[in-house]
Symmetry: C2
């Protein structure tokens, strides 16, 4: 949709906003008109937050999670169980697992999954550094918490092949099955099938 606004400055701001994911030209226009009504100082603060993030962002040198310090708060927290490493795709996954408050180990952020279609090979991911962490000793369990997709499964298998020679390191994956509160009749066949095959003893809990 070609549109010509009465101001080139306006046009440029709308163009830039509509480059963001999920933001079309109408939403971009609405946001830009909001920016126009904002005080100049607020706009400057907004932009400063983004440029500072973009220029100064750091990633933890151990787990590759986003961090303001060399080693992130999770990796440097001595209260956490350093013998468990949970392998995830990205920093949102770390947040999602942290939000459950059920995990007290450490993480390893791969930065994606192996996806030949998107030109992402093992070398583009933090897999070597994971192997280094494990070979360094002290890790007793590696939890593979990747997406349940073909790419996730491929990556799981690749990591399995790299880590299988460390006999004293247990490799686990997240449990698959019905979601909590799922109704049986609305659950997809694959998930339901897997949860029947992978049924576990009823403990009464």
């Amino acid at each position: 949709m070609e549109q010509q606004y009465s101001s080139a400055l306006l046009e440029r701001a709308v163009d830039e906003f509509s480059k963001l994911p999920g933001i079309g030209r109408k939403t971009a226009m609405r946001l830009v008109l909001h920016v126009l009504r904002m005080e100049t100082g607020s706009v400057d603060r907004f932009c400063d937050a983004l440029t500072t993030l973009s220029h100064e962002v750091k990633y933890c040198k151990v787990c590759h999670n986003i961090s303001d310090t060399e080693v992130c708060q999770i990796c440097s927290n001595t209260q956490r169980d350093a013998s468990m490493v949970c392998v995830v795709e990205n920093i949102q996954d770390v947040m999602a697992i942290e939000a459950t408050m059920q995990y007290k180990g450490l993480y390893h952020v791969l930065g994606g999954v192996i996806s030949p279609m998107d030109g992402i090979g093992p070398g583009d991911l933090e897999i070597e550094s994971l192997v280094d962490r494990v070979s360094g000793g002290g890790v007793k369990e590696v939890i593979l918490a990747l997406s349940s997709t073909m790419e996730g499964d491929t990556t799981n298998f690749y990591i399995y092949r790299k880590l299988v020679r460390y006999n004293d390191v247990k490799l686990t994956v997240l449990a698959r099955g019905l979601s909590i509160n799922d109704e049986l009749q609305y659950t997809d066949e694959l998930t339901l099938g897997r949860s029947i095959v992978g049924r576990v003893p009823f403990t009464g809990k």
Copy 2:
């Protein structure tokens, strides 16, 4: 929802994004993660577009539409009919009417409508400058194209009172009635009632 991210820079960027209208913390997070993946140069261009707009935005001194020049492209276009002035609330309304390609006159952007509830009085709007434009001569018709709300009607009436003494200036309002493609049974009562009372001769067009 309180969330603590592993990076204060990230937290600040999410905070700033979620101040924009219609953007909650989840969307803000998604946008910030996109910003993280963007090249630094692209982030700088995005921010430059916003800060430049915020610092250097100008409004046409005749019609108060947003403009890069002292007098906007519409007001300075000699092909347009300077004897007609269409009074609108904001610059989006100018764009909406321009998009119809049915109007060849000029505009006057009020900057809002009279709304005592929001503390907006006539003095906060570009009403005096409208009266000045009309008293300056050359204007034959003023089209009141404000929203069909109580505030819009109040503003219409206020402008009417200010302009009624210019006997040679015709005051008109936008036609109200059924939308094109509206089905009768789903049209609200007020609109339907008004379109019956305000029925017009059938011309066969």
